[in-house]
């Protein structure tokens, strides 16, 4: 097990003591872990809402032409809209590009969906058989790379 994994285990500093979480509680590599949740005002992926798949793609709505006008949007919200306006991006790409945890991106994108500034594509549901013609296209596409 790597150092990073050990470091990422917050329990080590406060074994079993969730009530005594110090405010400097963060992990060297990841930076503060509390700040991103401040950005979402403490919300985690909204309850009752469909959990956005990592490869679900965020597509701006025409109404998102000028996301800056909406006062309730944070700079991160605006940046998500701007990135996706250039080219629709997946949740995973946004998380990597913005350097934010996936859970935070899910919440922010959920807000934008509620505001009808973006919609999100649904990847093929897991139980469904993959479309054979799509698989053929993937093979051809890979060969042609």
């Amino acid at each position: 097990m790597s150092d990073a994994a050990e470091r990422g285990r917050p329990g080590r500093e406060n074994p079993g003591r969730a009530t005594a979480v110090p405010h400097h509680w963060y992990d060297d590599e990841a930076g503060p872990v509390v700040r991103p949740y401040a950005m979402t005002r403490g919300r985690t992926s909204a309850a009752g809402r469909h959990r956005l798949d990592l490869i679900a793609v965020v597509v701006p709505e025409p109404a998102a032409d000028d996301p800056g006008r909406d006062q309730s949007l944070s700079p991160e919200h605006v940046e998500i809209v701007e990135r996706c306006s250039e080219q629709p991006q997946s949740i995973a790409e946004l998380a990597a590009g913005l350097d934010l945890p996936v859970g935070v991106v899910r919440v922010l994108v959920g807000d934008l969906v509620d505001e009808e500034l973006v919609h999100v594509t649904r990847p093929v549901p897991p139980a469904q058989l993959p479309d054979v013609s799509i698989l053929r296209e993937v093979i051809n596409g890979l060969r042609a790379l």
Partner: protein
């Protein structure tokens, strides 16, 4: 629906997105493999996890959480404007198995990278994909200095189902990795064809 400001820009293309997982033991070359074919510099995406069910007090108005950070390799291959393949390197440590479940959902298939010097490191991944019926291909990453074994010997050591393909690869080499991915999708295609055929009868 009428929007006040109809599209000045062309409507964005909504791509079909697919994913392939890259699994295997510690240091077997997962990050290297993803980087060899990804068109974006190897990105690592991180998931913050909440340990559910543990009572926590509020911390400066921010919900206090038991969190940990997991790095996942992540790559993108745009096959066409409307067809995008994502690669996810699965986190290796056992305590992140539950993350695999999310990654595996809807995955088109998986690569299990193996190193002949430490074949046992790939058993867990093979078991995982077998049990979930996710199409996978075993790719033996050929490190210099590692003894070469006949493919049949490796297959036997891994106790692979005859249908599962085993290929040799160099995780640093784009062409080599491309053919590994093609092998995964071809296997998925065979299984999907069969499933459609049996559904039709």
């Amino acid at each position: 629906m009428a929007f006040g400001r109809s599209s000045r820009k062309k409507t964005p293309v909504e791509p079909v997105t697919l994913k392939i997982l890259v699994a295997g033991g510690f240091g077997v070359g997962k990050t290297t493999l993803v980087g060899a074919v990804s068109e974006i510099r190897p990105l690592r995406t991180e998931e913050v996890l909440t340990e559910a069910g543990r009572p926590v007090d509020d911390l400066h108005g921010v919900e206090a959480k038991t969190t940990t950070t997991v790095a996942m390799d992540f790559g993108r291959i745009t096959l066409r404007e409307d067809l995008v393949l994502y690669l996810f390197g699965t986190p290796g440590q056992d305590r992140f198995w539950f993350l695999w479940d999310e990654l595996a959902q809807g995955a088109l298939g998986a690569v299990v990278l193996a190193d002949t010097r430490r074949l046992e490191d790939s058993f867990a991944a093979i078991d995982y994909f077998e049990r979930r019926g996710i199409p996978f291909t075993v790719a033996v990453n050929c490190f210099e200095g590692a003894r070469r074994y006949p493919v049949e010997t490796v297959r036997a050591a891994l106790d692979l189902d005859p249908e599962v393909e085993l290929v040799l690869c160099d995780a640093r080499d784009r062409e080599s990795v491309k053919s590994v991915l093609v092998a995964v999708v071809e296997h998925a295609l065979v299984l999907a064809d069969r499933a459609h055929a049996s559904a039709a009868t």
